[in-house]
Amino acid sequence: MIEALFARYNYVVFALLLGIGLYIVIDDENLVKKVIGLNVFQTGIFLFFITVAVQDGAEPAVTSTGEGTFVNPLPHVLILTAIVVGVSLTALALALVVRIHEEYGSIREDVVVEVLERD
Amino acid sequence: MDSVASLRPLLAVSLPAMAVLLVLASRGRPNLREGWTFLAAIATFLTVASMVPGALSETVYVTDLGTYATGLEFALRADPLGVLFGTLAGFLWIVTSSYSVGYMRGLNEHDQTRYFAAFAASIATAMGVAFAANLLTLFVFYELLSVATYPLVAHDESEEAIWAGRKYLIYTFGGGVAILAGTLIVLSLSGTTAFTPGGIAGLATSDPTLARVAFALLVAGFGVKAALMPFHSWLPDAMVAPTPVSALLHAVAVVKSGVFAIARVVLDVFGPEAVADLGVGIPLAAVAAVTLLVASVIALRQDHLKRRLAYSTVSQLSYIVLGLGLFHEYALVGALLHIPAHAFMKITLFFCAGAVHVETHTDYISEMGGIGRRMPLTMGAFTVAAAGMAGMPLLAGFVSKWFLVVGSVSIDAYAFAAVLLLSGILNIGYYWPVVSQAFFEGADPDPKPLLEYPAGGSPRGGRAGSEARAVPNGGSPAADFYAREDDRTDAEEPAGSHGAHTETGDHGGHAATDHAAGWERRSPLTESTWFMLGPIVVAAVGAVALGLVPDRLVFLDLIQLIVENAMGVSL
C-alpha cells in the first residue's frame, strides 16, 4: 500500500491539495481566503491531469513526424482550458467579494451574516 | 354489452365544465350567471338521461380520449353503474341549483361567482367520476373533484372554514396517494385498469397478497371520501360550507363518488367473487358496520343540525359499503339502491336545515323548539325524509335496507343484519329529537335538556357566536336589488325575520329576539322563497317515490342490470 502510494507520489499530493483546498473553503470565514482555497482545490486537479500525461523519458509533444517518446498532449490542453476557467471564476468571485464589502464593510462571512441578521 | 362510440359521456362532463367558464365570464351579472348554471344543469341531466335507455338495453357509450400512458387509456364509458350515478347527480344538480340561488341570495353571501363556478366544476368532475372507464381516469377525476370542491368547503373564509378546507384536501389527497398506489399495483398485476363487469381477468389469479394490498389501498383511498371510519372526520368539519354544498356534495356527489368508486372496485375491478375469494369483503363490511354504529352514536350527541346530518351521512354511507362487502346479489342491490335512496333523503334533510338557517339563522337543534310552526312545509319534508332514513316502510330507505337485510341473512351474516336493525333504532334516536323539537316543543327560552345532552341542559349562552357569521349586509345596493328580485314572496311578508335581514342593517341577537317571542306561524306558502321550497318538495317527493314505486323509477332496473352483470345471475 505504502509502496503503491510512493510510486504515485503526485496523486498523493493531489489528494492532499484537494483536502487543504476544501478545508479552506469550508472553514475560513474570510471570503478572499475561501476563493484562494477554491484555487488550491482546482490546482490539485490540474496536478492530477498533468501527472496522467507524464511518461518516463518523454519530452513535450513538439514534432512534425510523430517519431519519439512524448508526454500526452491532451491533458495539457484540458488544463490550459481549466486554468483559464479557474481565473475567470476567481475574477467573478472577487468582484462579488468587493460588492459584499461595499455593502457590509467586511470580507468576513461571519461578520456579514451578523450584519444581515441585524437587519 | 355493446360498446358504441359516442360523445355523450364526454358531453356530460364538458357541459358543466363549460358552465364554469360561462359563470366566470358573467361575473357581476348574477341573473345571467345563474341562468348559465340552470341551462348547464338541465342540459347535463338531459344528456345523461338520454343514455339511460341505452344503458338499460346493454349499450355502453364510450368516448375514447386517447392513451394516458402505456396500459392506461383515458376514456369515458357510460355503463349502467355510471349512468345510475350520473343520472342521480345530474337530476339533483338542477334541484340544487335552484336551491343555491335561494340560499346564497338569501344570505347575501360573498364570492358567489366563485361559488357557482366551483359548484359547476364539482359536477363536471363528479360526472367524470361516474363515467370514468378505468381506474386511472377515475383517479384523475377523483383528484379534480377534491380540488373543485375545496373552494366550496373553504368558502366561508373563516378560520374554521380554512381549517376544514385544509383538512379536507389533506385527507382526500392522502386518499389519492393510496388510490394511485393501488392503481399501480392493479396495473402491474393485470396489465390494465379498465373496468370490466365481474372483475378484471387476471387479477383474481394473481399474487393474492399483492391483490389484497391493492384492494386495501383502493378501498382506504376511496374510503376517505366515503367517510369510512377512521377517515371520516373531515366530513363533519366540512359542514362549515354553505348548505347547498353540504346537500349536493356532502350527501350526493363527493361522498357518493367515494362510495361509487368502492362499488367500481368491488364490481368492476376485482369482481364480487374475487373480493369474496380474497377474503377482503367481510373485513370491508365489518369496517362499514363499525362505522355505521359509531357514527350513529356520535350523531346522537350533536346539537348542530348539520353536524348531526353529517354523522348520519357517515353512517348511511356505510350501509352501502357494507352491502358491497357482502357476496350476495340482494346485498349488492340493496347497497346500490341505497345510493339514490340516501341521496334523495339526505338532500331533503340538508335543504331543510339550510332553509331553516336562511330564514331564522338557527343552526342548533336545541334552539329549534316549535320551529314547525314557522316552517311547516320544510319541517314536514324533514320529517318524511328522516322517517325514510330510519327505514320506515313506504319510504326510500326501507326498500334498500330490506334488500341489505335479506342479503346478509342469505349468507348467514346475522351479525350484519343485527347491525342494520340496530342502526334503524339509532336513526330514530337522532332524528326524533329534531322532529319533536319542531312540532311538539314550544319556543321555550329555557329549553329542556334534550335526550342527547350532557346533564345540565344546553349551553345556550355559548351559542351566540353562531349568529355572528351570518351577518348579511343590509342597505347595500346589492340588497336592494335582491329585495326587488324576490318581491313576489317578500311583498306579502309581514315585517318578520326575513324582512329584517334584508332591509335593516342591525342583526345583532337576531335569532335570540325571535326566539324570545316564539316562532310566528307561517303558512307553507310563505315560509320561504320557492327557490328553496321547490327543491325541498321535489327531493322529498323523490324520496317517497323511491319507497312507494321503486320499480317505476329507472334506478332499480339499472341496479338489477349491474348486479346481474357483476354476479352473472339473473334476478
Binding site: 484540458l78 | 364570492d111 379534480l144
Partner: protein
C-alpha cells in the same frame, strides 16, 4: 461528414453559438439604443428556440441521433462531436422556449446591457451542456452557464444577492471541479473523452474497477451539487431567494434541470445500465439520496415564510423525484424523469414568474402577504393556482404525468418503498402549496371584510376585480402586474395542463431514445 453539415447538423452548433455571439451585441452596441439589449435577447432566444424546435422535431420524428463533428475532426481523430438525441433535443427545446418566455416576461423590466449578455450566455451554456458529446466539453459549458448564473443572481446589486451568488459560486465550482475529477478518472482508465467511445472503454476497464467507480462517484457528487440534491442543496435557497425575481424564474426553470440532464446523460450513455447492474450499491445510494431529497425538500419548504424560499426548497424535492426516475433505470421511469424535468421547469418557472408579478405589483414576498391576491390579481392568481396544483401533481397536469411514469417505473422495478415516497410526495407538496392557496383565495387582504361582501356579495354587486369590487381599498393597491409577465405566467399554466394530456405522446416520441439509453 462535412458535406451535409449545412443541414440539420449546423443547427446543433448554432443553438449554442448564436446566443454566444449575440451576447457580444449588447456589450458592443448597447450604447446606441436602449432597445439593443432587449431586442438582442429576444431575437437570439427566439432563434435558439426555433433551432431547438427543429432539432427536437428531427430527432423525435425519425428517432435518429444527430451527430455533428466540429471542424471536421471526428471522435476517432480526437475531435469534439455534438450528439443530439431525443432526450437532449427535448431539453434544448425547453431551454430555447423558456429563455424566450422569460425574456418576454422581462420586457417591462429594463436592465443594463450586461444583463442581457449574461442572459444569453446562460442559455448558450445550458444548450451546450445538452448537445455536447464530450465529457470535458460538458465541463466547459457547465462553467459558462455557471458563471452567467452567478453573475445574474447578483445582477441587481444587493448585498444579499452578492453573498448568495458567492456561496453559489463556491459550491458550484466545487461541484464542477468534482465533476472534472470524475472526468480525469474516466480518462485515466480509458484514454477517451468522447461519450460514445467512453462507454465501451469503461466496460473494458471493468465496471467494478476502483477508477471507474471513483469516476462515477465524483461525477455524480459534482452534479448532485449542481442539481441541488439534499444535503448539498444549501447554496440553492439563498440563490433563488435573493436573485432578481425573473432571473430566479429562469434559473429555477433551467439550471438544475440541465444538471439533472447531464447526470442522466453520463449515467446512461457513458456509464450505462450495465455499470449499475455490476454495482447495485451505487444505484441504491443514488436512489436513497434522491428519495431523501424528495422528503427533506418538502419538509423544509413547509417551514419557510418567504414564498421564493419555499419554492426553492420545493425544487430540492422535485429534483429528488427526477433523479429517482433516472436512477431506477426503467423505461417508464426515465420517461417520467424527462417529463418531470420539462414539466417542473415550466411549472416552477411559471410559479417564480407569478411571484415576480406579485412582488412587482404589490410588493408581497411572504406567504402571509399573499392574503387575498386572488381578488387583486385574478388572472395571475388563477395561473399561479393552476401551476401550484401542477406542482402537487394533481391530474391531469404535467406534474402528475411525470410522477405517474416514475411511479410506474418504480412498480416495475418492484421498489415499493420508492413507490411510497413518490406517491406520498403529493401530500408532502400539498403541505406547502395549500398554505399559499389559502392565502391567495380564502383570506382577505384588508380587515374590511364587510365592505368586500357588499362589493361581491349579493346580486347586482358581484364583480371580482371590477370597479365596485375595488372600492374601499387604498389606491396604492390598484397597481397591477405587467401584462407581459402575466401573459407568460398564464401561458405556463396552460402549458402545464395541456402537456398533462401529452404523457403517452411524449412516451412514444421518446421510445427510441429511451430504449437506446437503457439497452446499450
Amino acid at each position: 461528414m462535412i458535406e451535409p453539415a449545412v443541414g440539420i447538423e449546423l443547427a446543433s452548433i448554432l443553438v449554442v453559438v448564436v446566443p454566444i455571439l449575440a451576447a457580444v451585441i449588447p456589450i458592443a452596441f448597447g450604447r446606441l439604443s436602449e432597445w439593443v439589449g432587449v431586442g438582442t435577447a429576444l431575437a437570439a432566444t427566439a432563434v435558439q428556440a426555433v433551432l431547438a424546435g427543429v432539432l427536437a422535431w428531427t430527432t423525435l420524428s425519425d428517432g435518429e441521433e444527430i451527430v455533428t463533428e466540429i471542424g471536421g475532426y471526428g471522435p476517432s481523430q480526437g475531435g469534439i462531436a455534438l450528439v443530439v438525441d431525443g432526450m437532449s433535443a427535448l431539453v434544448v427545446a425547453l431551454i430555447g422556449v423558456a429563455g424566450l418566455a422569460v425574456a418576454v416576461a422581462s420586457l417591462d423590466d429594463r436592465r443594463r446591457d450586461t444583463f442581457y449578455s449574461l442572459y444569453l450566455l446562460l442559455v448558450a451554456g445550458l444548450a451546450g451542456v445538452c448537445v455536447t458529446g464530450d465529457v470535458f466539453n460538458l465541463y466547459v459549458f457547465l462553467e459558462i452557464s455557471g458563471l452567467a448564473a452567478y453573475a445574474l443572481i447578483a445582477s441587481d446589486g444587493t448585498g444579499r444577492s452578492a453573498l448568495a451568488a458567492l456561496k453559489y459560486l463556491i459550491m458550484g465550482t466545487v461541484g464542477a471541479s468534482l465533476y472534472l475529477i470524475g472526468v480525469g478518472y474516466a480518462y485515466v482508465s480509458t484514454g477517451y473523452l468522447n461519450m460514445r467511445d467512453l462507454a465501451p472503454a469503461l466496460a473494458e476497464a471493468g465496471y467494478t474497477d476502483p477508477l471507474v467507480l471513483a469516476a462515477f462517484a465524483f461525477v455524480a457528487a459534482g452534479l448532485a451539487i449542481k442539481i441541488a440534491l439534499f444535503p448539498v442543496h444549501t447554496w440553492q435557497p439563498d440563490a433563488y431567494t435573493t436573485a432578481p425575481d425573473r432571473v430566479t424564474a429562469l434559473i429555477a426553470a433551467l439550471v438544475s434541470t440541465t444538471a439533472a440532464y447531464a447526470l442522466a446523460r453520463l449515467s446512461l450513455t457513458v456509464f450505462t445500465v450495465e455499470f449499475f447492474a455490476a454495482n447495485p450499491v451505487v444505484q441504491q445510494v443514488l436512489l436513497a439520496v434522491a428519495a431523501t431529497s424528495v422528503v427533506a425538500g418538502s419538509l423544509l419548504a413547509v417551514l419557510q415564510s418567504r414564498v421564493k424560499r419555499m419554492l426553492a426548497y420545493s425544487s430540492v424535492s422535485q429534483f429528488g423525484l427526477v433523479v429517482v426516475g433516472i436512477a431506477l433505470l426503467e423505461g417508464p421511469a426515465l420517461v417520467g424523469a424527462v417529463v418531470h424535468l420539462i414539466g417542473h421547469a415550466i411549472v416552477k418557472g411559471g410559479l417564480f414568474l407569478g411571484v415576480a408579478a406579485f412582488a412587482g405589483a404589490y410588493g408581497v414576498t411572504t406567504v402571509e402577504e399573499y392574503d387575498g391576491l386572488g381578488e387583486r390579481a385574478p388572472y395571475a392568481s388563477a395561473a399561479f393556482a393552476v401551476l401550484a396544483l401542477a406542482l402537487v401533481g394533481v391530474p391531469p397536469t404535467v406534474g402528475f404525468v411525470g410522477k405517474l411514469y416514475v411511479a410506474i417505473g418504480a412498480v416495475e422495478a418492484g421498489a415499493w418503498p420508492l413507490v411510497a415516497v413518490i406517491v406520498a410526495s403529493t401530500v408532502l407538496t400539498l403541505g406547502y402549496v395549500l398554505r399559499l392557496l389559502e392565502r391567495i383565495y380564502f383570506t382577505d387582504p384588508a380587515p374590511d371584510r364587510a365592505a368586500r361582501a357588499a362589493a361581491d356579495g349579493g346580486p347586482g354587486g358581484g364583480s371580482e376585480g371590477g370597479p365596485v369590487g375595488l372600492s374601499g381599498r387604498p389606491v396604492s393597491r390598484r397597481r397591477s402586474a405587467g401584462r407581459a409577465i402575466v401573459a407568460v405566467t398564464v401561458a405556463a399554466a396552460i402549458a402545464a395542463v395541456v402537456l398533462g394530456f401529452a404523457g403517452a405522446g411524449i412516451e412514444s416520441l421518446l421510445e427510441p431514445t429511451v430504449s437506446t439509453l437503457l439497452d446499450n
